[in-house]
């Protein structure tokens, strides 16, 4: 968490929540780099940002469209399964691998944004839930491994509406809670979720790593 003149964040993933969180981070003063749903590996990250030497923040929210499409497992083809589960999981792991050196150089932070279905399950969203829960747990593992490198790693669970079409999101929320969000709304991605991400990079949270936060207005209260 060495203070930098210009703080650089890499936000990965197409559409929301990546887009809106990126907007919020820019408003908070971050210099923003973006990758969409492109193939992620060491080479593609290096090719996209050849002069990249340090990263203060990486935000992962790369879940291609097929992840977000409601599909019964028994109806999936092998290709659909790969595209909706295995490939996004692999890409999230590869992102960590590619980001390690730039994060270490900056004493940076990596945050995985995941949907509620990751830890709660989702009818019709098994591939998405599998990939995302794998990445939520990866965040804990990375935190344990990278703590001595001064890299902090967290996961943030968001309301399904951050990832899914409104009808599907409402169904997921209904399946997981008997109440509406106590705060009366789900958080705004650019105005509220991005502030949480930003805060996790500050000295106020220097002693925190491996956290699995739920930022959904209180819709889901596990544990």
């Amino acid at each position: 968490m060495t203070p930098q003149t210009t703080r650089t964040a890499l936000v990965v993933g197409s559409g929301d929540p990546a887009d809106s969180v990126g907007v919020g981070l820019v408003a908070a003063g971050w210099s923003l780099l973006r990758l969409g749903d492109d193939l992620i590996n060491d080479d593609t990250v290096a090719a996209a940002f050849p002069t990249l030497e340090h990263l203060d923040l990486v935000v992962h929210a790369r879940y291609p469209p097929l992840c977000r499409q409601r599909m019964e497992l028994t109806d999936l083809t092998a290709e659909q399964w790969h595209a909706a589960c295995d490939e996004p999981l692999e890409a999230g792991i590869r992102l960590a691998r590619a980001a390690y050196e730039p994060l270490r150089a900056a004493g940076g932070t990596i945050v995985y944004l995941v949907p509620l279905m990751a830890s709660a399950g989702g009818d019709g969203f098994a591939p998405f839930a599998g990939a995302a829960e794998g990445l939520r747990v990866l965040a804990k593992s990375l935190a344990k491994t990278w703590g001595t490198d001064d890299i902090r790693v967290h996961a943030i669970t968001l309301d399904p509406s951050a990832f899914l079409a409104p009808t599907d999101a409402a169904g997921m929320a209904e399946a997981n809670s008997l109440h509406d969000p106590p705060l009366g709304r789900v958080p705004d991605l650019s105005d509220e979720v991005s502030l949480v991400v930003d805060a996790l990079t500050t000295n106020a949270f220097a002693a925190l790593t491996g956290a699995s936060l739920v930022v959904d207005g209180g819709l889901w209260m596990p544990g």
Partner: protein, 260 residues
């Protein structure tokens, strides 16, 4: 056969497939299921340990057959289902235990693409294969699917971060499938064991302090036995005793992990 009081006959007339049943936890679960009365397909990649595992069950009076099965290949998993149907005419349970060995402790930045792909293939792709191949039979019989995950899939692992990720992914899958298949009467649960296995033998041999450290963090003071400690929990999850349980992970580790 190794039997536990009250478990004999619990699974009489049922049929199970256990992947990775040639050794370790899979072999122990297969033995326990057979002791409880189930016919068991030993679905394993290697005949040199799969055949003896099946023979050991038969020698104890149980029913078992070996079927060569690489869980990353859909055709192999289909063949295991067919073997169960041809031998016993039904399938009630699939236990997916097989996983590519995680190898020595390594940080994520030192793990190559091939290792990542193989861990994912045996952990998540294989769940897809097992679930899809068995669903019709499980639905017809009110059956269940059991996944062997790990405490690493809940709390993460600093030593084996990739293993923790794929085991975590399995928990996301099981909860989703529990929701998806509940209306069909099919239950989906998981076991997160810590037990003596060939992989554990290798790990403790490579790291002489590991066993003492592990025991020091285990309230029951010992590492589990695949057949007598882990197997009975699989029997319970497969039986009517757990008929109102789905989407759950049971940590069977002597109390080492208490974070649920």
């Amino acid at each position: 056969m190794t039997e536990h009081a009250g478990m004999s006959g619990l699974l009489e007339g049922t049929v199970a497939i256990v992947t990775g049943a040639g050794q370790g936890v899979g072999e122990g679960i297969a033995a326990a299921l057979a002791a409880a009365g189930a016919g068991v397909v030993i679905a394993a990649r290697r005949p040199d340990n799969g055949e003896p595992a099946a023979e050991a069950i038969r020698a104890q009076g149980g029913q078992a057959l070996f079927c060569r099965c690489d869980v990353t290949r859909r055709a192999d998993v289909d063949a295991a289902v067919s073997a169960a149907l041809e031998q016993w005419g039904r399938l009630d349970l699939v236990v997916h235990n097989a996983v590519s060995p995680p190898g020595p402790p390594r940080p994520i930045q030192e793990i190559d693409d091939e290792t990542i792909a193989l861990q994912i293939a045996t952990s998540t792709t294989a769940v897809f294969h097992c679930a899809q191949a068995a669903f019709d039979e499980l639905r017809a019989n009110g059956g269940s699917l059991i996944l062997l995950t790990s405490p690493s899939g809940i709390e993460g692992s600093g030593h084996l971060p990739l293993y923790g990720a794929v085991k975590g992914a399995q928990r996301g899958l099981l909860k989703s499938l529990a929701r998806e298949w509940g209306p069909h009467g099919v239950r989906v649960n998981a076991i997160a064991p810590v037990a003596w296995t060939p992989a554990m033998d290798t790990a403790t041999a490579a790291n002489p302090t590991l066993e003492a450290r592990l025991l020091g963090r285990t309230p029951l003071g010992r590492i589990g036995d695949p057949t007598t400690d882990i197997g009975p929990v699989a029997v319970f999850l497969a039986s009517e005793l757990s008929r109102h349980m789905t989407g759950q992970t049971l940590a069977v580790d002597g109390g080492r992990y208490l974070g649920l």
